[in-house]
């Protein structure tokens, strides 16, 4: 369970206070162990900043983040990787193109452990282990362990990244628009793979998406962010009843409230 309380984050791009960007303005969010949360919101609403604060890319100015009993603020980004799996929007970012699939997986299989100079990175046992992991993906990758990832398609790379992020079951999975760069058909396949992996390993998941259909179709909970705040949070049956129209209305509704408050 991740408990975020009162997260604030302001970016100072050039030191001029007028240009300060208030990315998070008091975000409190509890992610339960059975949660698969879809996060939606416009550009600059703070979705990615929230994810990056949890992952350790940014340090929040204020607020606390407790994962189970771990105070995340005590750990750096690479140290948090032990508990937090991540998949990025850009398929090029999650894997290394110039080395083989086997080597990529070997790295991920050691996530959170100290890399030792006295153990081989690759072994026959690992090869077999990876082949059994790759087979269920149905992409034929189990026969391409020695191929460089650079020769893979975007969908294949995202599937591999997903596998790498969950190979050692994390306490939390962060997905940052991980299907946005894929064509609709591949995106659907990767999305279904995500659901399959997350549900078999019971991984609490936070997924940013721009696709409202996905946000409604997948997961048990939906969060809408706006100007650094969570403006809408629904789960269970209420979420099942959502339609794109109601979501759009929510977006607009909020805008008018703001417009009124300005007037």
């Amino acid at each position: 369970m991740l408990r975020c309380q009162n997260l604030y984050k302001t970016f100072h791009p050039d030191g001029n206070p007028l240009n300060d960007k208030k990315a998070l303005q008091g975000v409190s969010l509890t992610i339960h162990d059975n949660d698969f949360i879809a996060v939606i919101g416009g550009n600059g609403s703070g979705k990615t900043t929230l994810l990056n604060c949890i992952a350790g890319v940014h340090r929040p100015d204020r607020g606390s983040m407790i994962l189970d009993d771990i105070d995340l603020r005590d750990y750096k980004e690479h140290e948090r990787a032990k508990w937090i799996g991540r998949v990025f929007q850009d398929p090029l970012q999650g894997t290394i193109a110039d080395i083989s699939l086997f080597e990529n997986l070997a790295l991920a299989s050691k996530r959170g452990e100290k890399a030792s100079p006295f153990r081989w990175a690759l072994s026959r046992a690992k090869k077999e282990e990876f082949q059994t992991l790759l087979k269920p993906l149905g992409l034929g990758l189990e026969d391409r362990l020695d191929a460089k990832i650079g020769s893979f398609s975007g969908g294949q790379r995202q599937s591999v990244t997903l596998l790498m992020a969950t190979m050692r079951t994390p306490k939390l999975l962060l997905l940052d628009e991980h299907t946005a760069a894929l064509d609709p058909k591949t995106a659907k396949t990767v999305m279904e793979l995500t659901i399959q992996i997350v549900s078999t390993h019971h991984i609490p998941t936070l997924m940013i998406t721009h696709n409202m259909k996905d946000a409604i179709a997948y997961g048990n909970r939906l969060i809408m962010m706006k100007e650094g705040r969570i403006v809408f949070d629904c789960a269970g049956d209420e979420k099942k009843g959502l339609t794109i129209e109601t979501l759009l209305k929510k977006f607009a509704e909020d805008e008018s409230v703001e417009a009124e408050s300005i007037l």
Partner: protein
């Protein structure tokens, strides 16, 4: 005349072997870690002069080499820390280290009683072997050259095996990964700082090893020894890549090995040609620069030519429409 030609054919071998080590060092920084480390130009002369100093002080040549290796590793670590902890761009931290180490080269020269620091008559790594080879009936020429080739050859083989195995371990793989994709490295729990420090230490240690052997093979060291070392290292890497493209790590190492010899034979031929021009040797670094341009440009041009040929074929296959406008 006979000896001149023998020298022509054999001297590039020992140079080629020594510069495999330099190129491996440059390779680790430039290709594995993706850092253009310019400190080489200062580290190299510092180590050649330091080697002379130590040996002239009566150090065992073997211990002198070991110390140089450690100092090289330390320099690399310091260089990495400058950019990692003080946020100095790697290119600049390399230049800073170059400037600092160059100063130490001058200090050691001062202690040696002025430049150049000569090793003639002092024991080197090669002495014992050349002495016993000559004792076994070889001429001085063969004894000297063979002892260099054997000793340096063994060290190069050792280093290449070590690097091959090291970069196959978990730590080695982690360093390679960090150089290629820092975001992925962090997301997989690798400390970019730790990996960069270890990687640059290895890189500079290899360069220091090359410098120490270079001083002992050429029996001296000057503050100018570092000039053009980056160019040489990069030329060897690119030459190797031109010969053996699409590489695995093993092939990378072999390519550097081959590239170094080819490079030194090309230089040898150029120097021979220079002999026929008055003041010709002054153009040597220019030739080296042109060579690097060539090595970089030719694979690119070949690729472009292939592409345009492929495009042309496609166009022909597409049966271009007659101009109907």
């Amino acid at each position: 005349m006979y000896f001149e030609w023998l020298n022509f054919f054999f001297s590039p071998i020992s140079n080629g072997l020594i510069f495999v080590l330099l190129a491996l060092g440059v390779f680790i920084a430039f290709r594995v870690l993706d850092i253009a480390d310019l400190s080489v130009e200062g580290l190299f002369p510092m180590i050649t002069v330091l080697t002379c100093y130590l040996i002239r002080q009566g150090w065992n040549p073997f211990l002198a080499v070991l110390l140089c290796l450690l100092i090289g590793a330390f320099t690399g670590a310091l260089n990495a820390c400058l950019s990692l902890y003080l946020k100095i761009p790697p290119l600049l931290s390399g230049i800073i280290m170059m400037s600092a180490t160059l100063s130490f080269a001058l200090v050691f020269i001062y202690y040696n009683g002025g430049s150049p620091s000569l090793l003639g008559g002092y024991p080197t790594l090669f002495n014992w072997l050349s002495a016993s080879l000559i004792g076994a009936g070889l001429s001085t020429f063969w004894g000297t050259i063979l002892s260099k080739i054997i000793v340096v050859g063994m060290i190069v083989a050792l280093v290449m095996f070590f690097l091959y195995f090291f970069f196959g371990t978990e730590l080695g793989l982690a360093i390679r990964a960090t150089g290629k994709n820092k975001q992925m490295a962090r997301a997989n729990g690798l400390s970019v700082k730790r990996m960069t420090i270890i990687g640059l230490s290895l890189s500079s240690a290899a360069v220091a090893l090359a410098a120490s052997l270079y001083a002992q093979a050429s029996l001296g060291g000057t503050a100018q020894d570092g000039q053009g070392m980056i160019v040489i290292g990069l030329s060897i890497i690119f030459l190797g890549e031109a010969i053996l493209p699409h590489q695995s790590f093993k092939r990378h190492l072999l390519a550097i090995f081959g590239g170094s010899f080819i490079y030194w034979y090309i230089i040898q031929i150029l120097m021979k040609l220079m002999d026929y021009i008055p003041g010709g040797s002054n153009y040597l670094t220019l030739w080296k620069a042109l060579l690097l341009v060539l090595v970089l440009a030719v694979p690119y041009l070949i690729l472009q030519a292939k592409k345009s040929r492929a495009n042309k074929k496609e166009e022909e296959n597409d049966a271009p429409m007659p101009e109907s406008l």
